[in-house]
Amino acid sequence: MTLHPVDYLILVLYFVFVLGIGWMAKRRISTSEDFLTSKRSVPVWITSLAFIAANLGAQEVIGMCASGAKYGIMTAHFYWLGAVPAMVFVGVFMMPFYYGSRARSVPEYLKLRFDEKTRGLNAITFAVMTVFSSGISMYALGLLFELVLGWSFTNSVLLSALIVLIYTFLGGLTSAIYNEVVQFFLIVLGFAPLSILAVMKAGGWSGISAHLQPVMTHSWRYLGHASENPMGVEAFSLIAGLGFVLSFGYWCTDFLVIQRAMAAKSMHEGRQTPLIAAFPKMMMPFIVIVPGIAALALMNMSSGYTLPLQPGGGYDYNQVLTTLMAKFYPSGMLGVGLTALMASFMSGMAGNVTAFNTVFTYDIYQSYIRPNEPDRHYLWVGRAMTIIGVGLSIGTAFLATHFNNIMDFLQLVFGFVNAPLFATFLLGMFWKRTTGHAAFTGLIAGTAGALMTYSLTIAEGKGGWITILHQFPSTMAQNFWIAIDAWVICFLVTMLVSLVTKPKPIAELHNLVYGVTDVPKEEGLRWYQKPTSLALMVIVVLVALNLLFY
């Protein structure tokens, strides 16, 4: 792929613009809360788009297009099943506690609801994971640019990290959120034409269906048994593992996304944020997954497009998106497409950095290292942690070039840590009896359960550290079952330990737990602004989409 001056012009225009937003946001910052939490001041349409954009990193865009070519429309379950129901749940049922507790972060909510050690566990694991995740995606992007454009890995990693650093350092969370909105629009407008062009070339959805196995164009029909579909999963593990444990564990507890909803102006807008975000989220498969499916059809109809090959044989699915762009975008639009890819990378990275600096400053530094300093001090620490967070991410990216296996290993461990989280939050928010000792023990037991499941089972040669009691048809099925086991163990252990330990007095649980929290009134809102009616609309559209691609 070769770029022309016009493509670079577009990329530079975008860079100037993101830095400009950072500069604009800088004027508003005088306290640590302005910098780290936007102090509940952001309009709802902005928090909603930021809510999904912060999660829409480059790895996600590239990976979803790759999975489209590999698994077909079943990939859409990562959105329809693996995100939207959880977004509805967090908006309707959980935001009242997150927002109403006046916590500044998710770990701080755990401190208020449970105790110091549960907060510490969540804050430290979260801080470590965000830094590594952003480093891993930086590594993936650097590799791709090196491969496709011949750019130097070092330079592209350093340049993109520097730009993210400058705008998050200047304007903090507000700057990151405002840029995420622009990045979201760029991702949509930069990739939608690719989807349209590829589908048109393949003869529309009917043309695609005619050139592919039926399993690639149906999302539910082949889920009866793992051997019937390329993912190697059946309906139960998909619904319970992806649709419940993993999805709710991420969208309802991960501070990276919750932080965006917490920045909204009012309780109503905080609750509306994930609900409004669910509408564009449901449609994302048509922009990021469908091109991958069309790519496979185009190859089968010998249209002049072939899937890229790996040097060692087999298809290199991660290059599907970029090779499609090279075939369908002329210079000019190619610049817009690459800028969209760069934007998705930056939104993902800035999301990680802004969540990291908040958790570190409030939940680690202010709690354990130096409490009771004047606010100016914490603003300074927040800014310093922005630089350190970016620095650590860059370090991780370079480390990944030497130890690729360590990165896979880390992502595996992160999965073990995240899988039980939702059980803790569910019990904590809806059962007054749940205690801090129980939450902590449950999380540790859940993670241990995940580790044990991995050690006792094998899939595609992965796992089986202790012995092999069960063989899964695919690593995806194994991941789903690890999550299910971890969740069930955490749930049971938390309940049992709660029954034998002393609960917090009810007076201390006000605004933290269901039953002792003022339910936010929906009066004064128009019918379409009410969280419950928004939720209903989301569900109707979601069911319609699933029926359409049954």
Binding site: H4, V6, L9, I10, L13, Y14, F17, G20, I21, M24, A25, R27, R28, I46, T174, Y178, V181, V182, F185, L189, P193, L197, M200, K201, S303, G304, Y305, A326, K327, F328, Y329, P330, S331, G332, M333, L334, V336
Partner: protein, 63 residues
Amino acid sequence: MSDLRVPTGILFALLGVVLLAYTAISPGARAPLDANINVNLWSGIALLLFGGCLLWLSRRTRS
């Protein structure tokens, strides 16, 4: 902070103008599989319209 729609509208309108200007200068810039669609022209129009919409919306609410 001032209305985000203004700078965003300006960015997208500018991107549209760049694509349209580029089509005018080099109409031969085509991709291998574009099926006789002038991608830069249509995308340029879409981007310009989107940017224009954002600017129009922000003017309307201000007045």
